[in-house]
Symmetry: C2
Subunit: 385 residues, 2 copies
Amino acid sequence: MNTRRHTADVVVVGGGIIGLAIAWRLARAGVGVTVCDDRPGRGASWVAAGLLAPVTEVHPGEDARPFLALALAAAERWPAFAAELEACSGSGVDLRLTGTLVVAADDDDRRALGAIVAFQRNVGLRVEQLDRAACRRLEPLLHPRIRGGAHVPGDHAVDNRLVVHALCRAAERAGVEFVTERVTGVVTSGGRLTGVRLRTGGDRAVGAVVVATGADTARLALPPGCVPPVRPVKGQVLRLEAPDPRGRPARPVRGLVAGRSVYVVPRSGAEVVVGATVEERADPHPTAGGAHELLDAALAVLPGLAEARLAEVSAGVRPATPDHAPVLGSTPVEGLVLAVGHHRNGVLLAPVTAELVAGWIVEGRMGDLDGRLPGADAFSLARFA
Amino acid sequence: MNTRRHTADVVVVGGGIIGLAIAWRLARAGVGVTVCDDRPGRGASWVAAGLLAPVTEVHPGEDARPFLALALAAAERWPAFAAELEACSGSGVDLRLTGTLVVAADDDDRRALGAIVAFQRNVGLRVEQLDRAACRRLEPLLHPRIRGGAHVPGDHAVDNRLVVHALCRAAERAGVEFVTERVTGVVTSGGRLTGVRLRTGGDRAVGAVVVATGADTARLALPPGCVPPVRPVKGQVLRLEAPDPRGRPARPVRGLVAGRSVYVVPRSGAEVVVGATVEERADPHPTAGGAHELLDAALAVLPGLAEARLAEVSAGVRPATPDHAPVLGSTPVEGLVLAVGHHRNGVLLAPVTAELVAGWIVEGRMGDLDGRLPGADAFSLARFA
């Protein structure tokens, strides 16, 4: 029997942006941390576009207040988080505080956008409605037939792949150990957490486990009562290269195009990311239909992108929950902590998730982000009970 | 001075399907052959879809008779060529003698297709017009709104990448030497051919040179009066994977969609190739607009392909001539032979090109493909003088 055993204070299962941010924060608080992932940073975090969108991700009909509080606190923290991450890793993350332009392609889209804007304002978000001419002044590359739009000064973007690189480097520098193996389950004995099981067969003894496995959570064997209701939602994304700055929008552009949503996210360099499909599927393969849907909508909004090089077509799987908010914190098994279900907002929510989860592990209590959260258990697993 | 010198009977400049087929044939005739290419088989031959289409590539308005005779002779030779190539290389090429279905997406397309079919029949080609129901009986995956079409029993397809592999292997087995360097020019002395110049600086003395450089011909320094009028025509191609046979068409399908042409070429395996854009450009980069155009047209014809995995987006550059027929045979410099300008038909024309060019080199005369060609100089450089 393979009884290879190691000890670490905390094992973080899953090395996406969420797991990496938690591991980095714990390590800086003096905790011994191991991250287990067979392909760290190469899941949904890698495919994502890097939108930091507390406003444009909030839609009418959702009970959005707890999520919105979390998202706004997250957006507020991003500039300091990015600066700290860049300083600790020695590498840039291309955070661009440009705001986001939202546009409507036809009259139905304009009406739908109007309703969204009214709702967003109603919950206290800053959104400035713009007519067609104002949209085109802000973004001359827009299709002339765009019907109107809105400017959202608080929605930004970061290069998520650079964030992955920087988090890996900063975590390593802070002493985090990386084990590039998949964890198949959490091991308990008499109802108490004892460790994690690696795919290669060995168990690893550990004091606490943070589950940050995103859409792969269903593959992880968890004790009864500790399984978060996470389902896979596939998203396809294109990466274009537009070397001429005149061929790229100046800021993220979200389009409503015949009822479909598309976003176009420029980087400081030539890259322009186009996302994302929303499919109730679990496979990570880009499809002809997905690429067609994205190109159709993106070119309807920014026709000049037709000339851009199509550099990559990829797909990732997001971890969605029934209320579209994450599951953060304790489970019925002591020492087993969840940080999953970030759906479309994993990049945005990484700093606050790290703060909350590390707080729970280090101080034994979830913080409230300086009073920004409605309640400490708004994101608990118990809300689904 | 770098005066590294080698001798070979013949240097074939360019290791695409044309150059490889010529080299293989010459080697089997006992000629010492060297193929020079920095990326053999990785140009337009690699991007191509592998259509063997003497009929559906012929359109009204072209003085098509010499080209058509060449193309029909080529199509006739393909089954024997493929069998011989498979035997000599020990690897398959997936030649599928299924015929091709051509379909029209709207009424204008149907009228345009009717005119093409009438022209094709008028020049003696076998084309069978089909109504909508007959099209869908032949290919149940067709979009229900397809207006009508035609069956072309003589147009087939081969896996061009397997052909490249097999030609490389067969050529090597026949004794062809491969030099993976780019040739920058042909060297003459006193008006006589003496060799080729490699990019790394060395010259290679040689008795004869076959120029098979496709769209790269303009980059090759050729003696005055020996430069064929070849221009680059970019083509973008998608490769899909449809593992379920019920998700793939049974034979190549060409669509006329709102005036645009698209083809969908299934392999025996899961691969389905979608091509091709026609752009007067020389860069080999796939673009957002190119992929959109192909997906838009392909999904209008075969909507079920939306579920197929998008495995590759690529672009190649075809060598076009003013009359869209190749340039084969002698130049004013003795021993300098051309085999360029195959435009959209390089795969189809490889066997006859090899036969004609090897005949010229070995026997000092261009053949007429058993009397099929109108005249030996129908494809000469001199026709452009």
